[in-house]
């Protein structure tokens, strides 16, 4: 297996006018790992995300993806849709962005647009209904149904995405991102708004994506239950700069991270109410 990090971010800086949201931030995500990006609100996590997926153009710095076959892509020079199409980076959004008026199955079919577009001969073959197109479409439906099965939405394939419950929508968005055939999956707070049972399911899903499909995951998350359980490495961001990086065990005891983000359990705080009594 390729040992070059799948994603390496070097000296990424993003300024909005006078405000520096991300300041010379560097990190690398290893292939096959689940890397979590954590930090307090306003630390610049989503900005980093948007720079990686091309929705923002970084003011300075480089974002490089190396694919399994060794091809390198400079994401900071690519248009957002090309990053998904060529570099194999897919993403989800903090506020879910499904095609709410389209069915679950249609959502997953749109995700396979580029493959299907070629198969339909840019609509010419598709318009004539030649067998090669019918076959390509059937296999696309199979892939979509397999993913719906995996996120337990197969029975709701023909239901409008907007009609699903919040947790189902979150899972559908992940399935949709996976249907683009990515090597790196970027999830922006996938556990936000989920109940404990749904978070546990999400853990299983992320592990399955990692182990069964060999897809590396980059994850922004506030739910420490999810982060500590699934991630292989954690990068901590505060005020636009990296303050720590390491395994979950290392991060949990890192004094800087505790001060900036995690806080401490009540019983460890000297001079708390209990001690004084």
């Amino acid at each position: 297996m390729n040992t070059v990090p799948i994603l390496s971010v070097e000296n990424l800086t993003m300024r909005f006018g006078g405000l520096t949201a991300v300041d010379s931030f560097s990190f690398a995500a290893r292939r096959g790992d689940i890397t979590a990006l954590i930090g307090p609100n306003g630390a610049g996590k989503t900005t980093v995300f948007n720079c990686i997926t091309g929705f923002y153009k970084a003011t300075e710095g480089a974002v490089v993806v190396t694919r399994e076959d060794g091809r390198r892509f400079d994401l900071h020079r690519m248009a957002d849709f090309r990053i998904t199409a060529k570099a194999g980076v897919a993403r989800t959004f903090q506020n879910i962005r499904l095609f709410s008026g389209m069915t679950c199955l249609e959502n997953l079919m749109v995700a396979q647009h580029n493959v299907l577009m070629k198969a339909s001969g840019f609509s010419v073959i598709g318009l004539l209904g030649l067998p090669s197109w019918t076959k390509a479409q059937a296999s696309a439906v199979d892939l979509a149904m397999a993913w719906l099965e995996k996120v337990r939405l197969a029975d709701r394939a023909d239901m409008a995405a907007g009609e699903l419950s919040y947790g189902d929508q979150r899972r559908l968005e992940i399935a949709r991102a996976m249907c683009t055939g990515p090597e790196l999956l970027c999830l922006d707070e996938p556990a936000a708004g989920l109940n404990p049972r749904e978070s546990a399911e999400l853990n299983t899903l992320l592990q399955a994506i990692k182990s069964e499909h060999g897809v590396s995951i980059l994850l922004i998350e506030h739910d420490m239950g999810v982060v500590m359980q699934v991630s292989d490495r954690i990068v901590v961001l505060d005020h636009g700069a990296k303050i720590a990086e390491g395994t979950p065990a290392e991060i949990r005891v890192d004094p800087k991270v505790i001060a900036a983000y995690l806080g401490v359990d009540d019983e460890e705080v000297p001079g708390s109410l209990e001690d004084r009594r």
């Binding site: 998904t84 389209m102 079919m109 318009l127």
Partner: protein, 497 residues
Amino acid sequence: MSDGDTARAAALSAALVDAVKWALVALLLSIPLLAWRTIDTPTALDLVSRWPVVAEAVAIVFVGRLVMLLAVLTPNRSHETRELIGPHAIGAAFCGIALVGLIVAFGWLAGFEIAGWWRFRLLLVSWLAFLIVFQQTSIGLVFASLARWLSGTKLTSYLPWAGLGALAVFPALPVADRYTLDLAVMVLTYVMLGWGLNIVVGLAGLLDLGYVAFYAVGAYAYALLAQNFGLSFWICLPLAGILAAFWGVLLGFPVLRLRGDYLAIVTLAFGEIIRILLLNWQSLTGGPNGISGIPRPSFFGLVFDATCGPGSFCGFFGIEHSSLHRIMWLYYIILVLALFTAWVTTRVRRLPVGRAWEALREDEIACRALGLNTTLVKLSAFAMGAMFGGFAGSFFATKQGFISPESFTFMESATILAMVVMGGMGSQIGVAVAALVMVGGIELFRDLELYRMLVFGLVMVVMMIWRPRGFVGSRTPTIVHQRGAVVSAGNVKEGHG
């Protein structure tokens, strides 16, 4: 007196007070608008009073408001008000009115003369009664269950074929005189334009206010190619479509980054630019004089003329000449063109490009996150919509034989857009129905002269209240796992321009 009685009395008196207020406003408004009419007398301009008209208007508002309050606008109080009048009585009364309206409408269609204003009153009242019946009584449920039963049977699968058959034999029916055929051709032209614009506005969610520009490009393309190079209609038709599509892409490029109101303004400007260009480029387009003597399409090489020579339609078939033949032929041409538009659109909707249009309407940012080149998606929608506009334009040119910039004003764009919005964005059948209502319906009220725009406005307002998403607001999925799935109107987005 029991509690129910007091509640009923309160509801009734509140409604009465409200209706009186409305009637007062109507009175105030109708004094300057309706009460006086100027008449040219040989010596001077005279004022004539029209108090009966005012009384009628006030009465309509009073009764209408009362009915609305008691029967329609109070869903949370509806059981109360239904008790008040009694559901069966109200249903029966409205059914009766609706039935009378229907009979009158059919009677009029069958040839009985009814004065224009009375026809208008009857149609309006019966139409409103119909809506109320549907909303408020079990008649609506009966229709709904009937529709459900129909959709369960095999009958519905024959319905489109029956419709097609009816359209195909229509010119041969006795009702198809010159006027009806001309109207049918006009309706079908608008249906085709509506379907073309439906791709841009309904599917891709890009608000285009300058669609008439492509119609104009198609018309002038055919007129100029036919006059200057002597090309036949069937060669010019695809050329006109390609040219219009080219202009669609040309318009698409600068407006790619725009959305919503901004996109609407720029497309509006584009429509005007094309019209003003046609108006001022005298040497090419003839300016305001337009282009006349545009060749008419021939029936596989046979021309339609009165001489009945060897190369003419009547001469070849050995029948008597009739000016209807040409119009029938035009009818079939536009029918085939419109059906072609529908066929291509329905098929393309199920292809990745069509699905991408709808995804674009739903969420552009999500599209880009999934690797869709939204530039190409938008341009393809513009090009395809424009192409069908171009086809319709060249048909228009060959039908009229004369075109001038006056046929391509903003009013046309607005009409076509209204059809798409009224029909239900993205729905083919809805747009066709809307075109029929808007072109055919306006013809129905021709006797009302200027007031028919008032009727038109009224219809629009009522539509927005009852069916804000158009006749057909739901959408059929482009691909299904199990048969028969439908996405209800509430989930479908209109796009942001």
